[in-house]
Symmetry: none
Subunit: 226 residues, 2 copies
Amino acid sequence: MNILLVEDEKALSNAIKKILEGRGYFVDAVYDGLSAIDYAKGMEYNLIILDVMLPKLDGFEVVRILRKDNIGVPVLMLTARTMIKDKVTGLNYGADDYMTKPFDTEELLARVSALTRRRGEVMIEDVGFEDLTLDLKTAELRCNGESVQLSKKEFEVMKLFLYNPKMTFTKDNLIINAWGMESEATDNNVEVYISFIRKKLKYLKSRVSIKNIQKIGYRLEVTGDD
Amino acid sequence: MNILLVEDEKALSNAIKKILEGRGYFVDAVYDGLSAIDYAKGMEYNLIILDVMLPKLDGFEVVRILRKDNIGVPVLMLTARTMIKDKVTGLNYGADDYMTKPFDTEELLARVSALTRRRGEVMIEDVGFEDLTLDLKTAELRCNGESVQLSKKEFEVMKLFLYNPKMTFTKDNLIINAWGMESEATDNNVEVYISFIRKKLKYLKSRVSIKNIQKIGYRLEVTGDD
DNA sequence: CACGTGCTTAAAAAATCCTTAAAAAAGTTT
DNA sequence: AAACTTTTTTAAGGATTTTTTAAGCACGTG
């Protein structure tokens, strides 16, 4: 369940994002009207939460443009409590619901779930490749009905591989992505973790393995392929 | 939780009444504007659902009169999809929310609970998962005929788990949802409460337990599953 | 075969989590 | 308002898991 959040006030934006993510929604946050249009055209959202007052292009314009382009995603408008007239304008331009600021957590969640019509339903998003599936919620790696629990770092590394199954990653690549820019991890750290993961892949009897190319890096490989 | 339903179309009125009664609300149905005023003055309702088009006295007038008499009960207006301008008028006269016909059950329930909950009241339904049932009214957690009383915070945490039984919550998630955005609760607070709840789950001999995945979060687990 | 590079493992170190007890705060009752 | 109860927070020690470190072995390439 993907939500596009358009709100220029950073503090509020972060608060809303956290609340929604806490309930399992995936949230992209942008901070002005033009980006909102770009994002909304770029991918399929299940809901757009749209502040009225925005830099570059206000909320009304955003809805109007989207509707003109036949993008029918439900839109929830945020307006200041005083500006009741906004409600009308927004609704005339094609918004589906409005909510006045400030609002409380429960109200937000109620309206969001009303608009997405998926009350209580769970949203599971997994990444997969060949016979492997990685559960992004629990960091469990599954294969042939079996599953193993990955640790946080194993998870980060595996996620990288599964998102880019054909790519070869240098050790530095892996360090930056799984350990972070600041980290002082060494090549040996990577080797150790590759070893951990290989052990788990073997246990799962997966057709996928991690291949090393000397001095170049690691990538996924499927037995019987090349 | 008492609701006054004002809708002259008998078939629709009965449908709404049934839906709401199914969720534990008590519903009085009347069929014109004058009766609406009588009833609303006669007893305390938690919510009035008000059609715009009514015999004798239309919906707008009803809200206006009630507000003038300092009756602040939340009002949810029903309008035909085409009559967007009604929304404005209704809101200006003091309605709290509107809904366009036709609408679906989930939407109705979401709005009704948003409006009734806003006044701090608790809903009547229970949440359940596997052998557990959480009474939202009393915060009692039941299992196999036994039951234990949860404290406020235990209740908030458990509610979150039961509403999203498959989801994994980070400690931050739990803090935001159970303690609130502003709170300065630490990870340790969460750990302590998880421990409290686990003790109660054990006492109830439930098949459900709370599993931790290091550095990732907590989620419900059913013994014998995975 | 020798060198660099990668693999594996064990153990040390660090981080995270669990549990409990006691202090503080909030809520009740008398 | 004081005494009591319950809930929530804080704190500390121990248990567990993850991550790092380090050392010896294996492997392939030149």
